[in-house]
């Protein structure tokens, strides 16, 4: 089976614009949420980790007649960087026929897919219309989830173009679907990831559910009181090894080596307490990758070097995930992306995948943002200092309302 490689990265996050800013921010490990600048955010805890105002793209306002919200603009910004990083030429010339590209050794747009995710999409745009803003005079239907379409339209991709919206597991699924598209022979290149932007409705509902921490996002901490949302976009260029080799891709950050899916089928918002299904997803991903406890050897080439947990800071999620990780891979260090940039919802899995790719590429696990004293029921190793990577694989978990679970395993680029 052809390997699925990560050949390009892009990010727009609370740490600023670009992957370099993200990697620097991971090492600085010093962030805090802020009050959302929305006078209509009538809620007790209007807190988020926001993209810095200076880094918020000031456009485009629309594309091909479709008005764009903050989510689409975030996705475009991260996709542009990922595509450029991969060394792909974009946008493709609209009038050129795909056969001409293919015959000339270039990228065949029919073989380029887009698989992006979001939980709220461009809902901010609609919220603006509902509170005094004016929708476009054209009256054209403005679907709330056009992010993948917008990126596909910008790039000129003609392959599968899909928006996955499995809440906080969505971008893990988008990446897995992207890998499936390559492995099934439907695509050579997939622009995959997720984007999430401030939505008043989403933040208000989490407030109503009592699930927002008043201070910061502090997964696994004894004093945690819920999560804190974050916003931004993370995009990875996934590419078949054969295609990357043929075009001489300049950087391979790692491989998407395994994926495992499951569903709790238990409750709308609460995780299933035994963790049976999240364990099944983890084991499935590790088995497919030949890594960790599913590799057949406890150490060596298949050793798991780190875990990027789902760990949101909510009471039960962190306990259940800790318990399963403690049984499955007890000594493997964890790196919490959410402690750094908050819970980015439909982009959370993509940010975790971005972080995993960077860790594997640089061979260093950055320090965790201090979360305070750990919950005794969450006995997970959260290193506070930067450490050299000791294993060739990283496990990424992403879970969601509705009991949707996905685990991904990323491996070092083959030598």
């Amino acid at each position: 089976m052809d390997d699925v490689l990560v050949t390009g990265l892009g990010a727009l996050s609370p740490l600023g614009a670009g992957v370099d800013a993200f990697w620097r921010g991971m090492h600085k490990a010093d962030t805090a949420p802020a009050r959302v600048p929305d006078p209509l955010a009538h809620m007790d805890r209007p807190l988020m980790y926001l993209v810095p105002e200076a880094d918020v793209p000031d456009g485009p306002e629309e594309q091909d007649g479709l008005p764009l919200g903050r989510g689409s603009r975030f996705a475009l910004a991260a996709a542009r960087e990922a595509v450029a990083d991969a060394g792909l030429t974009a946008p493709l010339e609209p009038s050129a026929l795909p056969e001409a590209y293919a015959a000339g050794g270039g990228l065949d747009p029919r073989r380029v897919a887009v698989a992006l995710s979001t939980g709220m999409g461009d809902t901010d745009l609609h919220e603006g219309w509902w509170t005094g803003g004016e929708p476009p005079a054209s009256g054209r239907w403005a679907p709330a989830f056009p992010l993948a379409s917008v990126v596909g339209g910008w790039f000129g991709a003609q392959g599968v173009n899909t928006c996955v919206s499995n809440a906080c597991a969505a971008s893990g699924y988008a990446l897995s679907v992207g890998a499936d598209l390559i492995r099934s022979g439907e695509a050579d290149v997939v622009i995959a990831g997720g984007a999430e932007a401030y939505s008043r409705v989403a933040l208000a509902c989490f407030n109503r559910l009592g699930a927002i921490d008043p201070e910061r996002c502090r997964p696994f901490a004894a004093d945690r009181q819920g999560t804190v949302f974050g916003e931004g976009a993370a995009v990875l260029v996934l590419e078949s090894a054969a295609h990357a080799r043929a075009r001489g891709a300049r950087t391979v950050y790692g491989r998407l080596a395994g994926a495992g899916w499951s569903c709790d089928a238990h409750h709308a918002t609460a995780p299933e307490p035994s963790g049976e299904q999240i364990e099944r997803a983890m084991r499935g991903a590790l088995r497919e990758a030949g890594a960790g406890p599913e590799s057949g050897s406890g150490s060596g080439p298949g050793e798991l070097g780190f875990v990027i947990p789902h760990g949101t800071g909510t009471e039960l999620n962190d306990v259940v995930e800790s318990r399963v990780l403690g049984g499955l891979t007890p000594r493997t260090p964890l790196y919490s992306v959410k402690a750094l940039i908050g819970h980015t919802g439909g982009a959370a899995g993509a940010f975790a995948a971005l972080a995993a790719s960077l860790v594997l590429h640089h061979g260093t696990l950055p320090p965790n943002v201090p979360v305070g004293e750990l919950d005794p029921e969450c006995a997970v190793p959260l290193p506070s200092g930067s450490t050299p990577l000791t294993g060739a694989y990283g496990l990424v978990n992403a879970y969601a309302f509705g009991g949707n679970n996905v685990s991904l395993v990323f491996g070092e680029a083959a030598a």
């Binding site: 339209g153 022979g185 569903c263």
Partner: protein, 358 residues
């Protein structure tokens, strides 16, 4: 895990629900459904009907971890979000209903299905403009071919857009659900195979659609999709096209029509099957003139047309084609009867390549 093959999937149950006259008490039961948003009720009711047609034992041969679900929607949550936002901005988040608050998340509209029917393989939600319902089928089928489950419940659900929202005049409200299982499994329990479905989606960039080559590019992409779905050009094909009047919709319509975009109003055109068979789609012969259906503001109508084609087969393969102004497009090929009767060479590519690979 069962060792039955995950290829040769057939549809054995179809459930459709319209919003007009819908009563959750009658459709679902008096208790436990009152506070679910309408689109969630619609989808549960559609799935219940689909499972009733498939038979009470449709899911039983496999364990919960071998059952998957996928739903597509564009507008299930918009009206609810609108109501919630009015509450938040007027009196504050404290006045939101804690029962409906989780439904800010679009994936919850399909999640109750997993709880009710013990679907632990996967439960996916897709939201791509207009094609999301067909994508639910496509991704569900791909996941089964990859060994992630062996039974699939898939479909689409929508709720009407609030008044004043762009597109509200073409809102969709209702749901469609399909039950899919391997043909041999259906035969062994005496279930009727209503047909098989395969979906290929693609993207026609709006700039390409609006260019002079738009119809030509649309035709090429449609041709590729039908080829990938295993349709043999010499088998007569019925076509239903769910399209809007955008440049993308115009380009696809023109491809089916064999005309360049802009040559007369779409609604006034009599689509000529022979034109389609001549150049646009690789010499395919049409069973009849393509049926043109106006697209709504949602992902429901294309899946409803698939359900209709399955429910009333005319003996020919049937292609339901749809596209959105944003560029998303998809083809669903419906083939009457039992998949196991389909020669190997005519099975969809993705299925052929992935069978037994996990």
């Amino acid at each position: 895990m069962s060792d039955e093959p995950a290829v040769g999937l057939v549809v054995t149950g179809i459930g459709t629900v319209g919003a007009e006259g819908f009563d959750f008490r009658t459709a679902l039961g008096r208790h436990g459904y009152k506070y679910l948003p309408a689109a969630s009720q619609y989808f549960l009711a559609a799935a219940k009907r689909a499972l009733a047609q498939a038979g009470p034992d449709a899911l039983e041969p496999v364990g919960p971890e071998e059952r998957g679900a996928a739903v597509g929607t564009n507008s299930a949550a918009v009206a609810l979000h609108h109501t919630m936002d009015r509450t938040v901005t007027a009196t504050g988040a404290g006045d939101l209903s804690p029962v409906t608050a989780p439904y800010f998340s679009i994936n919850l509209f399909g999640s109750r299905l997993a709880t009710e029917h013990d679907l632990k393989g996967f439960n996916l939600t897709f939201t791509s403009p207009r094609v999301a319902g067909l994508e639910a089928l496509q991704n569900g089928l791909r996941a089964l071919a990859a060994g992630r489950a062996r039974r699939l419940l898939a479909g689409a659900t929508e709720e009407a857009l609030p008044e004043g929202e762009p597109g509200a005049d073409t809102s969709e409200a209702g749901a469609v659900a399909l039950v899919l299982e391997p043909g041999p499994a259906a035969r062994s329990r005496g279930a009727t195979a209503l047909g098989r479905v395969g979906v290929r989606s693609f993207f026609l960039p709006p700039k390409v659609a609006a260019s002079a080559e738009g119809a030509e590019r649309a035709a090429a992409l449609l041709r590729d999709a039908l080829d990938a779905l295993g349709h043999r050009p010499d088998r007569p094909l019925a076509v239903t096209a769910v399209l809007d009047g955008s440049p993308v919709g115009e380009a696809v319509a023109a491809a089916l029509d064999g005309k360049a975009p802009g040559e007369g109003a779409l609604g006034e055109r009599a689509l000529d099957g022979r034109a389609l068979g001549g150049n646009a789609l690789g010499g395919r012969v049409l069973a009849d003139r393509p049926e043109r259906v106006p697209a709504g503001a949602g992902a429901l109508e294309p899946v409803a047309r698939v359900a209709a084609a399955l429910a009333a087969p005319d003996g020919h393969p049937h292609a339901v084609i749809t596209a959105a102004a944003e560029g998303n497009a998809a083809v669903c090929l419906i083939t009457p009867g039992d998949a196991s009767a389909i020669p190997e060479g005519e099975q969809p590519m993705g299925v052929r390549q992935r069978a037994g690979s996990r």
